[in-house]
Symmetry: C2
Subunit: 416 residues, 2 copies
């Protein structure tokens, strides 16, 4: 007997037929004698509909009321799934964020969980009760409804798993795991059986949209093992009995015995670069530039700055998403470039391709392999940034698919 969290996304709860399918997964775990907490998203499409209504009303809305509106979708699916489990003879009840409570800060629209009281859930387990928890939502200290940002149900699930000390957090979604790269681009992409938290963080933030980034951060901190699997895979009879399903386990790197030095190739299209030429090379300059962008909620991604040649000026390049480019340039022209730099250049239509793997810490030459492979195909590298477990390369949008396939092949990701 174990205690587990099962999280179901919107496509797994899209209609009553889908919810019946979810029931089968839950019944299997309950029949195995597990204590089960379920976290649900809203039905696919519901949250978008709710968000679009708020947008029809006003561009700059009050996020307190936004949260009231958009959190309602999870209330519906939690109630419906609890009903379904009861109809099947199971002891189950729904829980809203405010009933547990899941206490968050008051940053409406993107709140962070501050604490969760597990006592009511644990008491329910003692009575054999399955908890069906509305994901995505919480309650602020002063009793207001909050939401955790898009994809926040993943974070709800991991946070619940942490406080009830679950042995596993199963994320049921419409894909059957995490792949070495996007299978729509590289048909030889392989499902990874295990991925380290750190790798998943890089993959998630780079566009492998399986899990909300924050949920992975939280899982890493609290050592919550996440198993990503498809809700449409019911498994063979023998697999069902053993709980042995197809999927990807996201876990501590110590659990990954045979580390590959590269685990996956991620990419993000439609990036834009901004270069500040002959920037004054003195303390506070970078802070001024990025603070002005952050104030307007523009996310800056790759940042490249070289050591200045004569100690006087330097060039700095960074990327933003193409849709933010015009706003970013306006802000920079208005607020700072005349004071601190000579010239401002920008270009959109770029893509970032990243090579990720915890194994590269201990392997020399991983970056060189990438550069060589790309250059052989005539792909021009605009900029490079690296971290301990990631190499990111900025190229023209048009070469994205080609670059992904080359890198996938050169690191032998198509082979077990």
């Amino acid at each position: 007997m174990a205690r587990i969290v099962m999280k179901f996304g919107g496509t797994s709860l899209a209609d009553i037929r889908c919810i019946r399918n979810v029931l089968c997964h839950v019944k299997r775990e309950v029949d195995l004698g597990h204590e089960v907490a379920i976290v649900v998203s809203a039905m696919a499409g519901t949250t978008n509909q709710l968000v679009s209504w708020t947008q029809d009303i006003a561009d700059l809305y009050n996020f307190r009321e936004y949260d009231v509106v958009v959190s309602s979708g999870e209330q519906v699916t939690a109630g419906l799934l609890a009903l379904m489990l009861q109809a099947e003879g199971m002891n189950a009840r729904s829980w809203m964020g405010w009933q547990i409570p899941i206490v968050t800060d008051s940053v409406y629209g993107c709140a962070r969980i501050k604490s969760i009281d597990p006592s009511k859930l644990l008491k329910g387990f003692q009575h054999g009760q399955v908890a069906v928890i509305a994901g995505f939502q919480g309650m602020s200290f002063d009793g207001n409804i909050t939401t955790l940002g898009r994809g926040g149900s993943d974070t709800s699930a991991v946070a619940i798993a942490a406080v009830i000390k679950a042995s596993r957090c199963d994320i049921y979604t419409d894909v059957d795991g995490v792949y070495t790269t996007d299978p729509r681009i590289e048909s030889k992409a392989r499902r990874l059986s295990r991925v380290a938290f750190e790798e998943m963080l890089e993959m998630a933030s780079l566009g492998a949209k399986v899990l909300q980034v924050r949920s992975v951060e939280l899982a890493m901190v609290h050592k919550v093992r996440i198993f990503v699997r498809s809700s449409f895979d019911m498994g063979s009879a023998s697999a069902r009995a053993e709980g042995d399903f197809v999927g990807t386990l996201i876990c501590d790197e110590e659990e990954i015995v045979e580390q590959q030095f590269v685990s996956g190739i991620a990419f993000a299209k439609d990036e834009a670069q901004i270069s500040l030429r002959r920037l004054a090379d003195k303390p506070g300059v970078a802070a001024a530039v990025f603070a002005s962008l952050a104030e307007e909620n523009i996310n800056v991604d790759m940042i490249v700055q070289n050591i200045s040649e004569h100690g006087a000026t330097t060039d700095m390049t960074f990327t933003v998403s193409s849709s933010d480019l015009e706003r970013a340039v306006n802000i920079l022209e208005r607020s700072c470039h005349k004071v601190i730099c000579d010239d401002l250049q920008f270009e959109s239509g770029l893509a970032k391709v990243s090579v990720i793997g915890i194994g590269m810490r201990n392997h020399a030459g991983v970056a060189a392999t990438a550069f060589k492979a790309l250059s052989e195909k005539g792909i021009n590298i605009r900029a490079i940034t690296t971290s301990e477990i990631k190499i990111s390369i900025l190229i023209d949008n048009a070469y994205t698919e080609l670059a992904v396939r080359i890198l996938h092949s050169v690191y032998h990701l198509d082979k077990e």
Copy 2:
């Protein structure tokens, strides 16, 4: 300056365009300096959709979860309307039932309000804040979501008006008031400018579906003046300034200076009658009959029992809705008729037509006028029941419209 409650039904909140219309009504009252609490229903159709999902899952569902699901619609409209008011520069916030709280008993699906704490709402008024309250929902003593039954938002509105001591409770709906009878049947039907609570209770339960019956009961007990008006009537400029709108005020009979002896003609089609012949005329018999029906949730309406001729047996007739007839007959045959009565007769396809007016207390001959008018048109009267302010007559379904028009005319309801 006054304190008022404004309640908007589902057709008044059907989409963003309708909600903009609601905004105009609210803005007018706020601009007049009033303290405003708004109670909203779900968007038209939403609650039906939510109910049908619960029915797709199971026939006999747990009403605790039913309430979780169906209460979500009001959460959405409360949030959206608050957003809309804020976008217009007003100070507004939404309130869920559990946030105020509106405390109810635990009869899920049809809970009754036990108490409402007005303190948070009153504090908001002090800061010029408009309260946008999700109708239909409350919270049980032990922190579960409850709902007040279909049409429950009317009851929410009246209950809020009572506890905040509002001077008026405006019910905005898709009709512009209460009529002397259904205008689809009698084109000469007139809107009543004032109706006494008692009259409205009889009209509501008889099919003039403007207000939930419980809301009128509550209003009568707490002397909450209800003004029923159309949300689509924006009034002329001068009417707007004076707050002088078309509608019907439902109030204490003392406020009705010139009482008509008849105020309206109500009707209910598709009734069925059940007659128990030669019923034992002794204590406990009627109780046994009706208890067995009540247990199965069959509503009994008109009940007629004559004084027995020889003190031994009597005949009793009562009506149920046609859709309940078969179940009712089965119950009676199974449980009691052999013991206590000789024969059980029944017939469906009947209609009940009622003449309602607080004035008839002080006027003789009201009933005689009705009987004479009907007999002149050859309409056979099956049964009659009367109360202080109502005469109900059971006739064949086919004569319903004719009877309504005759009675409407004979009591001069088409004239001011």
